[in-house]
Symmetry: C2
Subunit: 234 residues, 2 copies
Amino acid sequence: MVRYHKQTRILVAIDCIIFGFDGTELKLLLVQRGLEYEKGKWSLMGGFIQKDEDFSRGSARILKELTGLEGVYMEQLYAFGEVNRDPIERTVSVAYFALIDIHQYEKQLNEDYHAEWFPIKDTPKLIFDHQQMVDMAKEKLRYKAAFHPILFELLPEKFTLPQLQSLYEGIFDYQFDKRNFSRKLQSTKLLVKQKDKDKESSKKGAFYYKLDKRRYAANFHAFLNLIPNPGNLK
Amino acid sequence: MVRYHKQTRILVAIDCIIFGFDGTELKLLLVQRGLEYEKGKWSLMGGFIQKDEDFSRGSARILKELTGLEGVYMEQLYAFGEVNRDPIERTVSVAYFALIDIHQYEKQLNEDYHAEWFPIKDTPKLIFDHQQMVDMAKEKLRYKAAFHPILFELLPEKFTLPQLQSLYEGIFDYQFDKRNFSRKLQSTKLLVKQKDKDKESSKKGAFYYKLDKRRYAANFHAFLNLIPNPGNLK
DNA sequence: ATAATAAGTGTTTTTTTTACAATTAATAAT
DNA sequence: ATTATTAATTGTAAAAAAAACACTTATTAT
């Protein structure tokens, strides 16, 4: 087989940033590093890409191996290429991120795995450049959320308006007006009201909604000024 | 030196997507591939990352080597990791892109290099997955242009409002209303009117403007609905 | 002097966004 | 059974932004 000559071949890693939402708070999933050097320190879920594996397969495999999570839709965040970002050996890392419904994956994420959810505002020190990765992912989540009515595939199947608002408030660390928030979402016509209610969080109960997937697919790129004064975003 | 064991090391390439604007039309810079296999075919400017080189140095070096261009600010687009994207040998490619003022770099891009500008709407067939890269870069350019008042570092030093409008019209392939476009831009207070005019394109001449860099830096993330009905974007 | 060309500019209407508070449904306590 | 409690739900008016629309102006060439 022909190959390119005299070129440097480099380790390529994938790191997964998994945000979770439990209906109230935004959290970050972390594991304790298994490899030598910094072993035991908190870290994103990471591993090396294999010979015949592309990024999406690789990221799915790594997430599965380290947390048990399957079927999580991840999106590419950024490729990190600093020469000394991994002190053991030069490694390029392609970071992937997702936002999932914590409850939906509760069972998969069992005791066998040493993965833990941390409140996004109270995370431990991370190895290498992982904090930088998390910060960038938060920024990207905000950016997307600011202009897209729904956080993509990232929502639970069924959700209430107060939950959705909490999610946005978690992401933006800001309080929104209930009436205006609701009106803007309804105006997208992407929400289908269900007949049942979530009674967990109030006596009255809040109606569930589902995403109208047909409309959403047809309207993937619909922009919406969901938060007031987006110009105030950092 | 310690290394990670039993892991696959892979070639990492950088490919550069350079859009250019000549005051009228949006163009794409291409070169004829120098390496064997598909030699002579049109291609993005690409090369392998070297041992002690990070992405930004690497992309600058590759662009310089193949086109003579220096000092171009590029931004990371996406990492492409399909297993067989390069038929010679597995290669991961990190794509970088930029939008530059064609006239400003005219001298650097001389006959020594076999780089050519193509109208964005009339580009030749490209090797590998380079067309996919270009398409994604166009999409990202649109996304940025839709919400950011000025195309970042991507503008010529001095520009006229009609030129800027042409640029946006090129990017969006859509005609805007002069009055509304002008009013929206002026409302950002980021433009400083100059005393001289560009007399190239009309008898009356159009006043030059410069970007207020102080304000821009302070306001980097300001969002602005610069195009009508952004929801109509694909 | 006049014609030709593209730049520059204002107003009205419509739509969107914002600010703001009372009512309702369900349950728990008395 | 009544009442208290809690959080969900809903409307309106004022302000701001966006969109639609066409004439005037500066300059050069004829």
